[in-house]
């Protein structure tokens, strides 16, 4: 069994390596994580997440400030670098919450079924009856704008997609022989759900999760842009664009660079997710 897994892994890495774009995605994602981890060291002016320099407001890009300075004289490059941490924490947390909740509910609904199962799926349908964005916006407007609440608001709109995905997968896995074998040996439902079925869901969850990472970050920045995100002066990309927009068309660097950061981050996760999909041989609709 163990040798088989190792073989599988080797094949997967081989397929991943053959896809040049996904290698680029892996390199970019690693770079973004590296920047986020060492943001304080990399940023030229790490104190600029909150410090105001009234004497150098709205400086266009220069050698001293490659991305220019904002309406409070803060270095935009430093704030973009520091903002990577906020975005990554947000993205990872949302995916963890949404995947765990969605998977558990999907497993219960798919494997146990019955009244609870159909109740879960009806509630899921209700959540999916409106574009998730509408619910995310409604919740984020209701709660205080803190990081935890933002994560809650986005996960609130996100888990149903995983419930539906896992539910569909479980319905077909349930009919497989290895599940029926475990059932006939009298294995308890919990064991079958988490030890027999769940491991088979890992590849599809990894692929969907990495593709969704980018979109979770994007959603976070949309909330920031609309003024529903974390409070200033926290350096958040979307909030920076929202503020920078007030100074258009002249001060283009205030909106251009944070947006570029969002784009590159989402792009990298998309490349990686797409490569993983081929490597793990997962089919997503």
């Amino acid at each position: 069994m163990k040798g088989y897994r190792a073989e599988e892994l080797r094949r997967m890495l081989y397929r991943l390596k053959k896809n040049k774009l996904s290698i680029l995605g892996l390199i970019l994602v690693s770079t973004i994580f590296f920047i986020a981890l060492f943001a304080e060291i990399i940023a030229p002016y790490p104190e600029d997440s909150y410090k105001i320099h009234i004497e150098k407001v709205f400086q266009p890009p220069s050698w001293e400030h490659p991305f220019g300075t904002d309406e409070m004289g803060r270095d935009v490059l430093s704030r973009v670098i520091l903002g990577s941490r906020i975005s990554l924490i947000l993205g990872i947390s949302v995916i963890i919450v949404a995947v765990s909740l969605g998977t558990v509910l999907g497993l219960i609904a798919g494997y146990l079924g019955g009244f609870i199962g159909s109740l879960i799926m009806r509630v899921t349908d209700v959540f999916l009856s409106v574009p998730s964005m509408a619910l995310v916006l409604a919740v984020s407007a209701v709660v205080e704008p803190t990081m935890e609440n933002l994560i809650f608001a986005i996960s609130f709109g996100w888990w149903p997609w995983y419930t539906r995905l896992v539910y569909g997968e479980v319905l077909s896995l349930k009919e497989e022989e290895f599940v029926q074998a475990a059932e006939s040996l009298g294995a308890p439902s919990l064991y079958i759900m988490f030890k027999e079925i769940l491991p088979n869901l890992i590849p599809i969850l990894i692929v969907k999760g990495s593709l969704d990472m980018g979109y979770a970050i994007l959603t976070g920045s949309i909330l920031g842009f609309l003024g529903l995100g974390v409070r200033p002066p926290t350096p958040e990309w979307g909030t920076m664009i929202g503020n920078g927009r007030l100074h258009l068309p002249g001060k283009w660097w205030l909106t251009f660079f944070p947006g570029l950061a969002i784009f590159l981050t989402v792009f990298s996760f998309n490349l990686l997710g797409d490569g993983l999909r081929d490597a793990l041989d997962v089919k997503l609709e």
Partner: protein, 342 residues
């Protein structure tokens, strides 16, 4: 016979789902931390005034009574009074919805046409540099933050080049066309008001393209994939072996099959468009439902929040219903599967 039953059952499903959505959004809006009455009246208002408004809005009653009152009101066709415009939310929705609908529809048309064309081109030229370039562009397209793209369009096309207006739906000095369908483009044509038509066309282009970019990429990917799948099939190989020119083959035979693949995601795409409208309407000051919704959120105007969410839910459910019914109608294989499944 059974297909008709499927349609009826599928339509009836919408009612409990939307009722569930109403409960959900009502619950979310009623746990608002701020006092809506206080927010609506401002800090100047006296305690008595706030209390009076609370009573008038029924906010002093228990949660379930408030809910029942709301449902009863809804059955009479009212969505409650907006705390911001002081009109019935239903009236506001009717004013703002056509703008959003027009933007989304215009954008959808652009996306389907360009997306399908690019899908065909990349499939026909598979594994050449044209294909590679467009695939990388498609990747960029789906990763692009729409609000940022919109702002970049405004900076370059509107401010720098001065080609198109930055915000709004029509020039402020031009009177909007008479309300017939609510679509400025159609109404102005019906009234033969060319000035208004050109002005609204100029205004819709940038927001529509901003909204369409990511769906273009998605449609392109799906059309390309299904075209390639079709090209593997026997009929394609036989026709090609018999010397039928590839162009005719692609446009006459393969495209029809590939296009139905694009149809399958249109329901989902409407969701993307509605979600995208929230930011695109904000960036371009497009006077639509999404912008109205954002303002309602920021002012904690909960009746408007509930109303907008319900209308979006209804619209989205109807689109998905139509798409489901259409599949079955267009493709007998799917129709058969629906009959077996139910």
């Amino acid at each position: 016979m059974k297909y008709r039953d499927f349609i009826i059952r599928r339509s009836l499903q919408i009612i409990p789902t939307l009722f569930g959505l109403l409960i959900l959004i009502f619950f979310i809006s009623r746990i608002l931390p701020g006092d809506p009455a206080r927010l609506a009246l401002g800090p100047e208002a006296t305690k008595e005034q706030v209390e009076a408004l609370r009573r008038r809005l029924g906010l002093d009653k228990p949660f379930y009574i408030q809910f029942l009152v709301y449902v009863e009101q809804l059955l009479r066709g009212s969505l409650g009074t907006s705390l911001y415009t002081y009109r019935d939310v239903m009236e506001d929705v009717l004013v703002y919805f056509p703008a959003t609908f027009e933007l989304i529809t215009f954008s959808m048309i652009i996306a389907v046409i360009i997306g399908t064309l690019l899908g065909i081109i990349t499939a026909a030229k598979r594994n050449t540099w044209v294909d590679h370039i467009f695939r990388v562009l498609a990747f960029s397209g789906v990763s692009m933050p729409r609000f940022w793209l919109g702002i970049m369009f405004q900076i370059i096309v509107a401010y720098q080049l001065g080609l198109l207006p930055t915000t709004g739906r029509i020039d402020p000095f031009i009177e909007p066309p008479k309300h017939i369908t609510g679509f400025y483009l159609i109404d102005s044509l019906l009234c033969l008001n060319m000035e208004a038509f050109v002005s609204s066309l100029k205004h819709i282009i940038l927001p529509a393209i901003t909204l369409a970019l990511s769906p273009i990429a998605q449609i392109m990917r799906i059309v390309r994939a299904s075209m390639l799948e079709e090209m593997e099939k026997d009929y394609f190989l036989v026709a090609k072996a018999n010397g039928l020119p590839e162009n005719i083959l692609i446009y006459k035979y393969t495209l029809r099959n590939a296009f139905s693949a694009a149809l399958t995601i249109i329901g989902l795409l409407y969701g993307y468009f509605l979600a995208g409208a929230f930011v695109v309407e904000t960036v371009f000051s497009w006077p639509g439902l999404a912008k109205y919704g954002i303002r309602a959120l920021l002012y904690k105007d909960f009746n408007a929040v509930i109303g907008v969410t319900l209308v979006i839910g209804l619209f989205y459910s109807l689109v998905n219903l139509v798409v489901d019914v259409l599949y079955g109608y267009l493709d007998p294989r799917i129709r058969l599967r629906m009959e077996v499944k139910r």
